[in-house]
């Protein structure tokens, strides 16, 4: 580890600077993140992210376990929203081998991915409330998440590491009565979002804590490579699902919520928060359309067990809950991938924190981490 620990004060004055070690064991670093905080009293000079505590060399593992065998590992890339990673890997392999996924399979994928997205956002915004000291919204979010977990469990038998998708489609068709059950749940969930806003999102203290804090304007967001809700929170209207469509997202009619600085400046923490809340609404719209329009047919294409895609490389982008996830996969024609690389949303968000943290208070750092919805395994992989 070679993190530059020296801070060069522009005035050349030694002041009462304090080095705080925030993490890897700290209540609000959501897993094993670590920040080396240089603080002058309560005001931070810098917060230097120190990554790598959760590195499991997943990309290297891919080169040893083969194309089908890697699917369960993708769950571990971002275990808060494993469906998206499943889908990224499956899509990369399919595009390499030019496999057409059956329509019903794609619909199943969309349903699973959107449920997973709501799940992930619920955890994100709930934990954000928790980090800012509001303890009740978290349990409410977890309660809703639990019900979605139950739905996903019915779908694939797992609650965290789903391993639902396969190269060529999905592992299992929707269970009997699943469509009704999910629509029933959505009927229930819709007012909950409003309740959540009343309880947390529009609370004056909460808004004051987040508005105008750690503002990232559109240019800066693009320059630093922010993706997903963090990018949209800065007012950039870009969503992979709509702008570079994949799967069957073209069939659906949905909006892309964008931060507009309702409570402060565009791109502040509150904008990033509200974008996540509104994305849950949009996910519900997509889910309703998908449930209504799901066609009959097989869910998985015929893919040989000894899967050997032709030589070549492919770059696939998907919209994961934590933003655009890029999979670069190169094949040498063997039964093992030659090289896999994943670019994730949390990783880029982690980079900008050092820049944003200057001059903020220590309490704000917690808000920034939470508003970026950084999940440690996705940073390190």
């Amino acid at each position: 580890m070679s993190v530059e620990l020296e801070v060069h004060d522009s005035q050349g004055l030694a002041t009462e600077e304090m080095t705080l070690n925030m993490g890897p064991q700290h209540p609000s670093t959501h897993g094993v993140l670590r920040f080396i905080v240089k603080a002058d009293g309560e005001v931070m000079r810098r917060a230097i992210p120190d990554i790598g505590y959760l590195h499991r060399s997943i990309e290297k593992i891919a080169e040893k376990v083969g194309w089908h065998g890697f699917m369960p590992y993708t769950d571990r890339v971002d275990y808060v929203a494993a469906m998206a990673c499943n889908q990224g890997w499956a899509m990369a392999a399919e595009r390499l081998a030019d496999i057409e996924v059956p329509r019903r399979g794609e619909y199943c994928r969309v349903i699973a991915a959107e449920l997973s997205r709501i799940c992930s956002h619920l955890l994100g915004v709930g934990a954000m409330g928790m980090d800012l000291g509001a303890i009740t919204p978290f349990t409410h979010a977890i309660r809703e998440r639990e019900m979605i977990m139950d739905l996903i469990e019915e779908l694939c038998g797992a609650r965290l590491t789903f391993n639902y998708m396969r190269i060529g489609g999905v592992a299992w068709d929707l269970p009997h009565g699943y469509v009704e059950k999910v629509s029933h749940y959505l009927d229930h969930f819709e007012p909950v979002i409003e309740e959540f806003n009343q309880l947390l999102g529009l609370n004056r203290i909460y808004v004051k804590r987040l508005a105008d804090v750690a503002t990232v304007d559109a240019d800066m967001a693009i320059a630093w490579g922010l993706v997903g809700p963090n990018l949209r929170g800065s007012g950039v209207d870009f969503d992979v699902r709509r702008d570079i469509p994949y799967s069957v997202y073209e069939d659906f009619d949905f909006d892309v919520p964008v931060g507009s600085g309702e409570m402060g400046t565009t791109g502040d923490c509150w904008d990033r928060y509200i974008v996540r809340i509104r994305e849950m609404d949009e996910s519900m719209r997509i889910l309703r359309q998908a449930l209504a329009g799901i066609p009959e047919g097989p869910v998985i294409a015929r893919v040989p067990r000894n899967f050997k895609p032709p030589v070549g490389d492919v770059h696939v982008k998907i919209e994961a809950p934590r933003g655009e996830q890029s999979w670069y996969v190169s094949s040498d024609g063997s039964e093992y991938p030659h090289r896999v690389h994943i670019r994730t949303g949390s990783f880029t968000a982690m980079g900008i924190i050092d820049r944003l943290s200057r001059g903020l208070m220590i309490a704000d750092l917690v808000a920034v981490i939470a508003s970026m919805d950084i999940v440690a395994p996705e940073v390190d992989r």
Binding site: L13, T15, E16
Partner: protein, 100 residues
Amino acid sequence: MVGPAHFMALSAALFFIGAAGVATRRNIVVIFMSVELMLNAANLAFVAVARGLGTMEGQVIVFFVMTLAAAEAAVGLAVILAMFRNRQTVDAGEISLLKW
């Protein structure tokens, strides 16, 4: 029987302990605290005399001394902070230049 004289004697003891602190210590914060101790010794004497005379004037003076001490502490500590920021020391011997 304990009377005001006993308290006056205690006050004298505290006062001179404070004076000894001012004379021997070099840490300016501790010197400052010794001064506070001396002020408080004086307060005790005032209260004892007020008790001896049965009048309230002594206690009123104590009230004023407390206000003074609060003001003194605020300004004095601000001075120490400013000094520390510029010189990185609280040693009374090092800050005898009357300037920074």
